[in-house]
């Protein structure tokens, strides 16, 4: 199987003229197949565990960390924030229900507004609609609140939809896709270079994770940060690593990228928050 894939890629390398006519459904199937072929020993559902799905040595340490994960403190903080009353007497629970177990509904395409709505955006919009200031996008309270909501949503299926009756949704998906596959920054890396074509290889001292499953486990407590962070914080960090100026968190670029990456992981389960290196 591996050789077939390689052969195909080789042919593609010659044929720039080939169109990208495949739709999201075909994209997704080919994407997931790619990883299943590349990592035949990884059970499909395990891809939601990031690099630990392919790296046994690191997985043992990760499991030891998960015995009492550092994000539990964030979940507790998040629970308090989630239920604390706004000035108008309401709380996030009025927007997202008693436990905020809504992770499986995001990100989604909002036809009325013509944009991708992420869970972080929905949280801040709920706050603003109730006369509160929005949280920052990358860390702190937004990460705590979404840690709580994600924790209560564990096990929900990733099933991002790209409504076929709105061409703008497909356009947003295509933008995210292009973002994923284009080389950026002075180091000239695409997301796909590290996290697809050479996923599992060492980059200096680190093994890159498969992109299949990338969007399932957020927010994340990263040892490097020694704190919680959102997916867009990580996007920005990755871009900075390859010497590309990051885009704004929750801007169109990253929201569309999240839309694409999460759609690629359809069928897995949301399992955040998580601990990562």
């Amino acid at each position: 199987m591996k050789t077939i894939i390689r052969g195909t890629l080789g042919t593609l390398g010659l044929g720039l003229a080939l169109s990208v006519s495949a739709g999201p459904v075909e994209d997704q199937a080919a994407f997931q197949k790619y990883y299943e072929n590349k990592f035949p020993n990884t059970p499909v559902m395990d891809f939601q565990n990031g690099v630990y799905s392919i790296l046994p040595e690191a997985r043992e340490q990760w499991e030891a960390i998960e015995e009492f994960p550092p994000y539990e403190i964030a979940i507790e903080n998040g629970e308090k924030l989630y239920h604390s009353k706004f000035a108008n007497g309401k709380s996030l629970a009025d927007c997202f229900g008693p436990e905020g177990a809504v992770r499986g509904q995001y990100p989604f395409w909002d036809k009325d507004r013509g944009m991708v709505i992420t869970m972080e955006r929905a949280v801040n919009e709920c706050r603003e609609a109730n006369g509160e200031k929005p949280y920052g996008w990358k860390k702190g309270k937004i990460a705590d609140v979404t840690a709580y909501m994600s924790f209560n949503s564990r096990g929900q299926e990733v099933k991002v939809e790209i409504p076929s009756d709105d061409p703008r949704a497909l356009a947003a998906y295509e933008e995210g896709k292009e973002q994923f596959y284009t080389k950026r920054g002075q180091l000239n890396f695409a997301c796909a270079d590290c996290h697809m074509l050479t996923a599992g290889n060492l980059y200096r001292a680190d093994t890159t994770s498969p992109a299949f499953g990338h969007a399932t486990s957020w927010p994340v407590f990263r040892s490097k940060w020694q704190s919680m962070g959102t997916l867009h914080r990580r996007f920005a960090g990755c871009h900075t690593n390859i010497r590309a100026n990051p885009y704004k968190a929750q801007g169109t670029e990253y929201s569309n990228l999240e839309y694409f990456v999460t759609y690629m992981s359809n069928g897995l389960e949301f399992n955040g928050p998580a601990a990562r290196k």
């Binding site: 015995e67 009492f68 550092p70 539990e72 403190i73 507790e76 020694q226």
Partner: protein
Amino acid sequence: MSSIRIKAKERNGSVDVKTLMKHNMETGLRKNKDGSKIPEHWITDVTAESGGKTVFAAAFNTSISKDPYLAFAFAGKKGDTLKISWKDNTGKTDSAETKVK
């Protein structure tokens, strides 16, 4: 809220204890942005008591990771009270109690 989270579960007469203590555990080696050293500040001692006696105790160096994690096991049963306390080098203390599950 206490800085200490405890999980204590009994199995076959033995209580598995896992605890996480929120503490910066400053090594004294890190520097502020202005170049001045951040003074060392860390938990030096941890004690676990159950049924009026100490069931576990430990002393830490600054090399224990931030938000220290500690796991141990002692002879006990469901419903026992377990109290865990820490003390740091500035004299601060904290403690938390839980019932064994």
